[in-house]
Symmetry: C2
Subunit: 336 residues, 2 copies
């Protein structure tokens, strides 16, 4: 195992410090915790948004803390849910008097720990709602989940719910729009190479020189099928057809797409994949209104990518396009 670190035991804590050092205009650390929150908090009376989960998915979730997205990100150890007391710290710092929405990816440990934290926060008088993202169409259950896994589609939930919260909507309204995104967002990924969890020291699976793993999650867990490497065109087709059938999509639907690198895939290849999504959407008469291409929800240094589609109505399109200002996503810039 080769990693730039001092020790597997200190890597997450040191990286959180490093994120604050790198993005001081956005992030500060709640002292004594693994919670990163906004350097400039939201005004009173706005709904707060908290997300988090295991580390190893950077820029998720600290990269989305800032104006128009999250108020706090809670980091567990690599691929391990944060504990309820850490999530509780995140809820406390994100509460500005109008309640807090928890955006949780569907993994058993995360769902349980965020639920316990919610109960603890409610006992303190904080109003809390939870939404659970389950966008991965690859598997119905996995070694880490009951039901579908939450993967890159989570970032569209952060963006859209965060935009509505910034506008002063109520907790019920922000929860409702998050659930509308969750009802419609779908993703699927594949790996060219596995990743190695620092604490384990060994790759999570092995692939032959001409093999890929379809339907992988974001924790190095197995996919649904091992296949021969195929062209970018065939890979995109395969993922998009599976997603489109699941929704289902129809001609005329307007789409947002995320082309997400799993950690070790060059932007050169992700951009070539984005082109395939564009060709596919044109051939299916589904206008592609928004394309996000880059690393949004990674799995350490796994090589591969996931595609996420979200059909847009006017409300979702407007919220997706609303200004945001975070380490990873910045839009609606007004320059001098």
């Amino acid at each position: 195992m080769k990693k730039i670190m001092n020790s597997p035991d200190t890597l997450v804590a040191e990286a959180l410090e490093g994120l604050v050092i790198s993005f001081p205009q956005y992030l500060k650390q709640v002292p004594g915790t693994h919670v990163l929150t906004r350097a400039t908090p939201k005004p009173a009376g706005r709904v707060g948004l908290v997300s988090g989960g295991g580390s190893g998915h950077e820029p998720a979730h600290a990269g989305y803390v800032g104006y128009g997205m999250l108020d706090a990100a809670v980091a567990g150890e690599v691929f391990t849910s944060p504990t309820p007391d850490q999530v509780l710290e995140g809820i406390r710092v994100a509460d500005h008097g109008a309640g807090v929405l928890l955006v949780v990816k569907n993994y058993t440990g995360d769902v349980m720990n965020f639920d316990i934290a919610r109960e603890l926060a409610e006992a303190e008088g904080i109003k809390v709602a939870t939404v659970v993202v389950n966008d991965d169409v690859a598997v119905e259950n996995s070694s880490f989940t009951t039901g579908r896994r939450g993967i890159a589609g989570t970032i569209f939930v952060h963006k859209i719910a965060g935009a509505l919260a910034e506008q002063g909507a109520s907790l019920e309204e922000v929860e409702a729009v998050a659930n509308r995104v969750i009802a419609h967002v779908r993703s699927m990924g594949f790996a060219l190479e596995p990743c190695t969890v620092p604490q384990a020291g060994q790759p999570t699976f092995t692939l032959a020189d001409d093999e890929i793993e379809m339907g992988i999650g974001i924790h190095g867990e197995p996919g649904i099928e091992r296949q021969k490497l195929r062209s970018a065109h065939e890979l995109a087709q395969s993922l998009l057809e599976k997603i489109a059938m699941d929704l289902p999509l129809k001609a005329g639907d307007h789409l947002a797409c995320m082309v997400n690198g799993m950690g070790a895939t060059p932007l050169l290849e992700l951009a070539a994949l984005a082109r395939e999504v564009s060709l596919w959407s044109k051939s299916h008469d589904m206008p592609l209104d928004v394309v996000w291409t880059g690393e949004f929800m990674t799995s350490l240094e796994m090589a591969g990518a996931s595609l996420t589609l979200l059909p847009l109505d006017d409300t979702l399109r407007t919220l997706l396009a609303a200004p945001c200002d975070t380490p990873q996503l910045r839009q609606g810039v007004h320059h001098d």
Copy 2:
């Protein structure tokens, strides 16, 4: 070789299309070329900035096309200089009547082809100046260069010269500030794993399970020394001491630092490395005013990182902090 592509022969052209599809608010392609230029051109009378080089370093250079940075990026094939006619297309589209500055990384092919393009543009009556970035302290000459190589420090040149050009400075002034950055910016990198050029199909070098290569460039070329893997702390010390002695730096110097991932290194590890830079700068009484952490100048899917230091005076600090709005770098956001 595992890559998300249709063919090595079409990868770059398809990726350029994919970048425009992903960032239409920033980028458009000059028809029939490998030149990406601003979607909204600079006002007349401003100096234009052009950079470029071989592909495989994404987000360099198209990721820096936009307000406050470049006017055009010219892409060659992977790790291969763009031809003079392509660079000429970039100069033409970047000329808004006040001349064009070419920012060239010091590689023999790039320097030659950008020089020929400059002569062709001058024959058309366009005023052109060239600066050559040579920030890599690892080697004095290499298989690709006479003199030091240009690596990640190039992005500080884009940022600072681009900010001054946006303010309406003359070509001579923009050239002078670029040369001031070049005189002071220093970088050095290391690899944990090599990369594979699509056209070659084989890794550019091989490393044992416990080995790293110090002083690598950005084209998979050999470094200066093969070493045993060390801690993040020791790696940062080693690079920073070499850079600091080269400049030389002294206590009280204010610094900008870039912690640059080579392609396959997780942000988790880069953030941990950023923390080491911060500790080092504190222990040497050199305030770290700016830290950029992420992937700025990659080498395909190479694992590893480079560190770049730039001592700041008031002028450079102000220009580095000036607003910019590009696919990769956005700052000075005024949100609603």
